[in-house]
Point group: C2
Chain length 434, copies 2
């Protein structure tokens, strides 16, 4: 059950991990005081890359799917964290409406909704699922790939409240609305100006969110954390930059892209020299909004972004829901040195409120260590992230799984904190506009 | 790993459990709003008795030992709850001083301290153990029965702060002092008027606490909860009464005792008739302060408390630390209908802050269903209290373990809430006096 971690490469990360373990009380105190200033998102997942010489977040998802891939042995941990999260949102209420993605034909995604609903129900909430899909016009049961059924009901807006109306189950008026829909296609009118708490808020959706805003906030977090620990922030932070006014189809923006890619490869090369990393630097070019591993490519030289062929340009030009890509983030590529059964693996860490509740390895049998693994063909291996280690000396060896996971939890929480800052800044902006 | 619960007896409790499960959202909402008014104790354990026809707490320990008996698989749940508890006590600090019981020769008790320290360290605290035992005059390593070592250091009072001073480890000045010492022998001067947060507070110790105060508060909690659910509070609440001015050695107070025992047996008999319970009522007479299962007897008729022989009187007259018993609580005996490998068993539920973090069965191979199991010869079986149950319909069958444990968690938290009310009332009193 415990995934085997390849520890053949033992670079500076072991040093970093040792540092994290030794400084655990300082780190936890630092997080405690940060959470006094910033409200943690309700939930989030963070994709990490562990390069051996550095450990960094590469993507932070504020509408996490994949709850079904968490280790069921740790369900109670999710339930407890959900209780804390709910105490903040609805201390005196008990009905929760969950709005999932519209793609009701993705039976794997629906399985995630089943798992999420289960966590919330176990936390003591009355949960129903409201769809904003135009295809769901009456209460309908859907099946997951493994035989669970899920009742989706069309949401009804009454004044500024979202409700459900079911002939047998009756009306449902919830205290809060939990979005598991990343709003890639925009902010539907039906969700605007609600009386109910909408979590996460509308501006957390991909119609407004920019990856570069997140990583700007992460720059701040990583610097402050690295300063506290006395380490180089680069060890936990991938470089990034941005090109706007990109149009892949019209070959617009190539110049910016090649300039930024070149700059970044040079910066990475310098760091690799400083840390004696004997690998070829690469960068990831990805759409500044959006998810699902669409609109993303790995690049090792400037030549690769000049004169892209039609197929590559098409692939880069659209993301989920057919949206056109007009801004890209250029991100330092962090190779993974983790393998699971000889396949390349990267950890994904799940959090609810400010607690780490689990994670899994995203594993790809046909991708390389420097490629995006969030692609068709990936599979998931639940992470048993804490060994029943009650020996007082089990914290001594950083090669063991619980300790490695502590570092993962630290870096994932740094990204969570960045998301909290990012959302808080957007909140202030949204209030200024309103 | 999952203990087998005998469910041969399926009395009204199944009805109660069904009720709890059906009303889970209401119950959890009720708890959430209670915790807005009352601060949960830092930690507690509650002894429950499940009679089949009723499920009730019989003892609430505010200085729980036995952390080593919790299921190690759920360590992460304790750690998460400890993080919440610590956020309230020391949001911006990270040093915790734990003061254990003085009986350093009890290697099993010390094993509990090792487990407790481990939880707190995993929660990210720097923990050291300070002893107030006159026998610990310099930093000393003690061994547990299973080969762990534990460093106990004598506490040093400087002004109104408790500190540790170790020639190599250096000085230790903590934000809070966590007591795992129930103060049976009084409130030592060294712990009085501390600047540091003392948790639980001095008045939670057995030198001031009375079981009858706890169960008075529990009366309130149980009535309010039962009213919310529309059930008879007796189903979750054992009758109790009190005799003061008892002196077993001098045969003083026998009259009060026999009167109260008689009254209570009559009341139980009426309830048994009402619920068609075909069992012989009994009461438990126990010292109104104190723990460790000392000063306690089970009684089925008035005759048993009149003319106690010398041996019985001696046994009843002293509790832990040799204190004389001058007040007793007469408590309705709740038989247990649970057995584990044909031995009588009762669940003990552990909580930290307002979260259930685990539990175990106290099992006694040579005691009956109507006897106190907290006695020499008892052993402990960790409770796996939540099955990885992610099926949406797994809540339907109340016979399964996770569901049974939900009821245990509910009743244990009711007792926790009573403890919170009890401590809050004492806080107010203490402030009036000061």
């Amino acid at each position: 059950m415990v995934p085997h971690l390849s520890t053949a490469l033992t670079g500076p990360l072991l040093g970093l991990e040792k540092k994290f373990l030794a400084e655990m009380p300082n780190i936890e105190q630092w997080f405690r005081s940060q959470w006094l200033d910033y409200a943690a998102p309700f939930y989030a997942s963070v994709d990490l890359r562990n390069a051996g010489f550095k450990l960094a977040p590469v993507d932070t998802n504020l509408f996490p799917g994949g709850f079904n891939n968490l280790n069921p042995d740790f369900l109670s941990l999710s339930v407890q964290a959900a209780q804390v999260a709910i105490e903040k949102v609805c201390p005196e209420a008990y009905r929760l409406l969950i709005i999932p993605e519209n793609h009701t034909r993705n039976t794997y995604y629906l399985r995630n909704v089943v798992a999420l609903v289960n966590v919330m129900r176990q936390a003591g909430l009355e949960v129903r699922i409201g769809s904003i899909s135009p295809e769901v016009t009456e209460p309908t049961e859907f099946n997951t790939q493994d035989g669970h059924t899920l009742l989706l009901e069309p949401v009804v807006r009454e004044g500024n409240r979202l409700k459900l109306k079911h002939p047998e189950l009756g009306d449902f008026d919830s205290c809060a609305v939990l979005l598991n829909n990343d709003l890639s296609s925009g902010e539907p009118e039906i969700l605007q100006n609600l009386e109910q708490s909408l979590i996460p808020p509308l501006h957390a959706g991909w119609s407004r969110r920019r990856k570069t805003s997140h990583f700007s906030a992460y720059d701040e977090v990583a610097s402050s954390f690295a300063e506290m620990l006395g380490i180089d922030p680069w060890l936990i932070n991938p470089y990034f930059s941005c090109c706007s006014e990109i149009d892949f189809k019209a070959r617009e923006g190539e110049e910016c892209l090649s300039l930024k890619v070149d700059e970044m490869l040079t910066r990475i090369r310098q760091k690799y020299a400083e840390y004696n990393v004997d690998q070829e630097p690469y960068v990831i070019v990805k759409a500044n909004s959006g998810t699902y591993g669409m609109g993303i490519m790995a690049v090792k030289s400037v030549e690769e972004v000049i004169g892209l062929n039609r197929k590559a340009r098409n692939k880069m030009s659209v993301v989920k829901e057919g949206l056109t890509v007009s801004e890209v983030m250029i991100q330092e590529g962090v190779p993974t040195f983790e393998t699971l059964n000889e396949s390349v693996a990267e950890p994904v860490v799940y959090m609810m409120d400010h607690f780490v509740i689990g994670g899994f390895y995203r594993v790809h049998t046909s991708r390389g260590v420097d490629e995006n693994l969030n692609a068709p063909g990936a599979h998931f291996v639940p992470l048993a992230f804490e060994d029943p280690c009650t020996l007082p000396d089990c914290a001594d060896s950083p090669e063991t799984l619980p300790n490695r996971f502590y570092s993962y939890g630290v870096v994932a929480r740094l990204a969570l904190l960045a998301a909290a800052m990012e959302l808080q800044a957007q909140d202030s902006m949204a209030q200024l506009v309103a």
